[in-house]
């Protein structure tokens, strides 16, 4: 149980996908303008990551030993089609959830964080339960980064910012400072 919690914490804070691996940077810079969209995108991310963890574990355990060179292709196709299926199912079963996650589901599928999760989890040799905890931590980490970024950006809109700095340059510098702050969490490991 201890190990599972460590996997979760390390993916959530210490090795935050967005701020230390630079995965999922596109939505991080693109969609982080408003707090509520950022939160919903983050939740959709967690959701897709959990599905991905199950898919990649199954593929890795049962199919890839026979054809290791198909790893990338099979991951991306299976993830994309599963997400599409799940999207249809949600649309049918719970229109409310669909409205909340809505357009983000298909967008997220081609997000580097998702494929990154599948690759890292199989590289580390995680089983199904470990993989699920890893996915939960990674998704939570992405959500955390998105929400923090959106919060800061909402504040900056009220500030008087020189025109040269506006836009992506400013966002990247803010992200750099956030990333520096998250490096502090690396100390959690030695403390244990």
């Amino acid at each position: 149980m201890d190990e599972l919690i460590w996997i979760f914490i390390s993916a959530l804070l210490i090795n935050n996908f967005t701020l230390t691996y630079f995965l999922g940077i596109c939505p991080f810079l693109g969609v982080s303008g408003r707090l509520d969209t950022a939160l919903r995108l983050g939740l959709a991310n967690i959701f897709v990551m959990l599905i991905t963890a199950v898919c990649s574990w199954a593929l890795n355990a049962y199919i890839l030993p026979y054809a290791p060179y198909l790893r990338l292709i099979s991951f991306i196709i299976v993830i994309a089609s599963t997400v599409q299926l799940v999207e249809m199912a949600i649309k049918k079963l719970s229109p409310e959830l669909f409205r909340a996650l809505g357009i983000f589901l298909p967008l997220i599928t081609t997000n580097c964080a998702i494929l990154g999760l599948a690759l890292f989890a199989t590289n580390k040799g995680y089983g199904l339960v470990e993989g699920l905890f890893y996915a939960l931590g990674a998704g939570g980490g992405v959500t955390l980064a998105l929400v923090l970024m959106a919060g800061i950006r909402e504040e900056t809109r009220l500030l008087d910012i020189p025109k040269v700095v506006e836009g992506t340059a400013l966002n990247l510098i803010i992200a750099g400072i956030l990333s520096m702050a998250f490096m502090g969490f690396a100390g959690l490991f030695s403390a244990s």
Partner: protein
């Protein structure tokens, strides 16, 4: 009659990727590899070349099959083509330069989801003949490699006081460790973009004066 025009057009498609529509500095595409592996110049170069290979060959294939790929499944088809070439690159790098392959790690595989590559297929290769698609892919990938090399060199020079592993400064130089850590990637690109913004504004003002 038609010949010079196509050559001109190819040259134009090639050149736009280098500067005017540079994928990293102007379009801000393909951010994950741009920031993640640029902690040394040599890694950046390897990543740039790997991306070049994948982009050029995918464009070639997509553009030659553009009339055969049904519109509804085109994105899936593009991704399968791209993933195939990435697998090739992954194995080639593992066989020839295992050290660099190990350092780049999963980021080689992540070239598949580089939005730059899929974006070029969707926006250009699937609509243009092979020659033009090739020119566009080459221009874009050279622009991408150049940008990566820029960031990688800055980070390596400041972060470890060296370039391509050759020490540049004497013993008195205290390396800025932060530059080779993740935050350094964000800062370097942020300040580079800031610098380009500044250049652009200055030029815009200059034009305004003359007019």
């Amino acid at each position: 009659m038609n010949q010079p025009q196509t050559i001109n057009q190819s040259a134009e498609e090639f050149l736009k990727g280098l500067w005017k529509e540079n994928p990293v500095f102007v379009a801000v595409l393909g951010m994950c590899p741009t920031l993640a592996v640029t902690n040394t110049a040599i890694n950046s170069l390897a990543m740039g070349l790997a991306t070049t290979f994948v982009l050029v060959f995918s464009s070639l294939l997509v553009s030659s099959f553009r009339k055969l790929i049904p519109k509804q499944v085109r994105i899936t088809a593009f991704i399968i083509i791209i993933a195939t070439f990435v697998t090739v690159v992954d194995f080639v790098l593992a066989a020839t330069v295992p050290q660099i392959h190990k350092e780049l790690g999963a980021f080689i595989a992540l070239i598949v989801v580089n939005c730059l590559i899929l974006g070029r297929q969707e926006a250009f290769s699937s609509k243009h003949p092979v020659g033009l698609a090739l020119a566009d892919a080459l221009g874009m990938s050279i622009g991408f490699t150049f940008a990566l090399l820029c960031i990688g060199s800055i980070r390596e020079i400041l972060g470890s006081g060296a370039l391509f592993n050759i020490p540049l400064f004497g013993d008195g130089f205290e390396p800025w460790v932060i530059m080779i850590l993740p935050p350094g990637g964000f800062f370097t690109l942020g300040f580079l973009l800031l610098f380009f913004n500044w250049l652009q504004q200055r030029r815009a003002k200059g034009v305004g004066h003359r007019a």
